[in-house]
């Protein structure tokens, strides 16, 4: 995995620069500067309402920064350069850059009117223009990977929460994004189903290629999978390798948060 010395040289896959975000009068994120190296796995932790989801949603254009810029693989997401000047991006530009990013939601958001297979085939066929038989092949192999090849013709509601979330992961993976946001993908699950989903995530992480921004409350998982852990609370409070951040946090807020977590 990447060490900091290595990542300093290559162009980051994701770069948040001076990002602020407000909802009306509510200031949610203040001056976020964050670079994520290609194939780096970053875990984001922090208390409820600290802006973790907002941070992730901005990367897939579901939330627009109030100020600052975001780059994915060297390309501005919310802006484009016209004659050397930054101007707000249009829908076409957003679509082009957004194609590099994917996201898995807490609530799965599967398409309830489509079978599992069609859920996974839909975007490859209609967004990427992959021929149906080829897309089907890819979808089936991706569903195999998450252990659901037996459920191809079922509808989402016939599946358990853990199974649905694995389908959602497969649906995001077949688009082969360079960077993927996982927003508390186990929070909506019954406890006995958390394990199966984390296992799939771990496998994906171990394959290594994809850059991952994993928002999570699963500290053990973060420790095991992440190259770097970020503790945030409206801004980045502290970050570092998992052993350091979990083992020896410097900031008092981080210490409080982690201790509350251990006692919970």
């Amino acid at each position: 995995m990447n060490t900091n010395a290595e990542t300093a040289k290559v162009q980051p896959m994701v770069r948040y620069r001076n990002i602020c975000k407000s909802f009306g009068d509510l200031k949610v994120l203040t001056d976020i500067n964050l670079e994520i190296a290609p194939s780096e796995k970053v875990a984001v932790i922090g208390p409820s309402g600290s802006g973790k989801t907002t941070l992730g949603r901005m990367l897939v254009t579901l939330e627009k920064p109030t100020s600052g810029t975001i780059e994915i693989d060297g390309e501005m997401l919310w802006h484009k350069t016209v004659k050397g000047e930054l101007v707000p991006a249009d829908e076409k530009h957003l679509r082009k850059v957004r194609g590099n990013a994917g996201m898995v939601f807490q609530q799965f958001n599967l398409f309830p009117h489509m079978t599992i297979l069609r859920n996974v085939m839909e975007a490859p066929v209609h967004v990427l223009g992959i021929p149906k038989d080829k897309a089907k092949e890819q979808a089936i192999s991706m569903l195999k990977k998450v252990g659901l090849e037996a459920k191809l013709d079922n509808y989402p509601r016939q599946l358990s929460g853990g199974q649905q979330q694995r389908v959602a992961i497969a649906r995001a993976l077949v688009m082969h994004p360079k960077v993927m946001v996982f927003d508390e993908v186990t929070s909506a699950l019954d406890p006995e189903m958390v394990g199966e989903v984390l296992l799939v995530l771990k496998e994906i992480a171990e394959e290594g290629n994809m850059t991952m921004l994993v928002i999570t409350h699963e500290m053990a998982f973060a420790q095991e999978v992440a190259d770097r852990v970020i503790f945030m609370e409206g801004s980045i409070v502290e970050q570092g390798p998992p052993q350091a951040l979990f083992g020896n946090p410097h900031n008092q807020r981080t210490q409080e948060f982690l201790s509350r977590f251990r006692n919970a």
């Binding site: 897939v60 939601f105 958001n109 309830p112 009117h113």
Partner: protein, 215 residues
């Protein structure tokens, strides 16, 4: 005196007109429902305003008065329109106004997460509407649309008042000439029921078929 068989034949002639009227008015209403319903949700505010005015106008005025306007008043301004066309137009526009509310509320009932999932998969807005939102919203619309269709069928009886020879009109004509009031209007009642009941069953069947595997 007509033998009862003749009465039935004449009533069936009116029934054909009633069916014709229902089918074409329903098609018109269906199209209007979607156009006006989506206009209500448009980003462009003048479009929203027009849609609201349209809906409120047709909901706030009497269908019968509207019919009279189109059939009896417009000719005074040299706009002539057949009774059948007037019936189709007014019924279609009225039920379109009600239908637009159904379309709008059904689309708004689809969770935001569905659109967001589409955005994140990089679908175009049109693909999100057609492939994700509408198929789900349509299922919510079907029962109400079905009930509106039955309402529409029953409302067609009003067009007899603008001289269109539908089932109701024929009934009144025969009653006038034969004075067999009970038989004639009894038959009219039964025929309306025979038209409406299969619709009720059809809507129920469709509802069941659509929810299979998804409930």
């Amino acid at each position: 005196m007509h033998p009862p068989f003749n009465i039935l034949v004449q009533l069936l002639r009116g029934t054909v007109v009633t069916i014709e009227l229902t089918v074409f008015a329903a098609l018109l209403a269906f199209v209007i429902s979607f156009i006006v319903g989506f206009s209500r949700m448009a980003k462009f505010w003048p479009l929203r305003a027009i849609a609201i005015i349209y809906t409120e106008f047709f909901r706030g005025t009497s269908l019968l008065v509207q019919l009279f306007w189109v059939y009896f008043v417009l000719p005074l301004f040299n706009v002539n329109i057949s009774a059948l066309a007037a019936g189709i137009l007014i019924l279609g526009m009225n039920f379109g106004a009600y239908g637009s509310e159904v379309v709008r509320s059904s689309v708004l009932a689809i969770p935001k997460g569905q659109t967001e999932a589409g955005v994140v998969l990089n679908m175009k807005p049109s693909q999100i509407t057609w492939r994700i939102i509408l198929p789900q919203a349509f299922m919510i619309m079907i029962p109400t649309f079905g009930n509106n269709l039955i309402e529409l069928l029953k409302s067609t009886a009003l067009v007899s008042l603008i001289t269109l020879n539908d089932l109701m009109f024929q009934g009144k004509m025969i009653q006038n000439t034969t004075l067999r009031t009970t038989e004639v209007f009894g038959l009219v009642l039964v025929i309306y029921f025979c038209l409406a009941y299969p619709l009720t069953l059809g809507v129920r069947w469709l509802e069941r078929k659509i929810t299979v595997g998804r409930a």
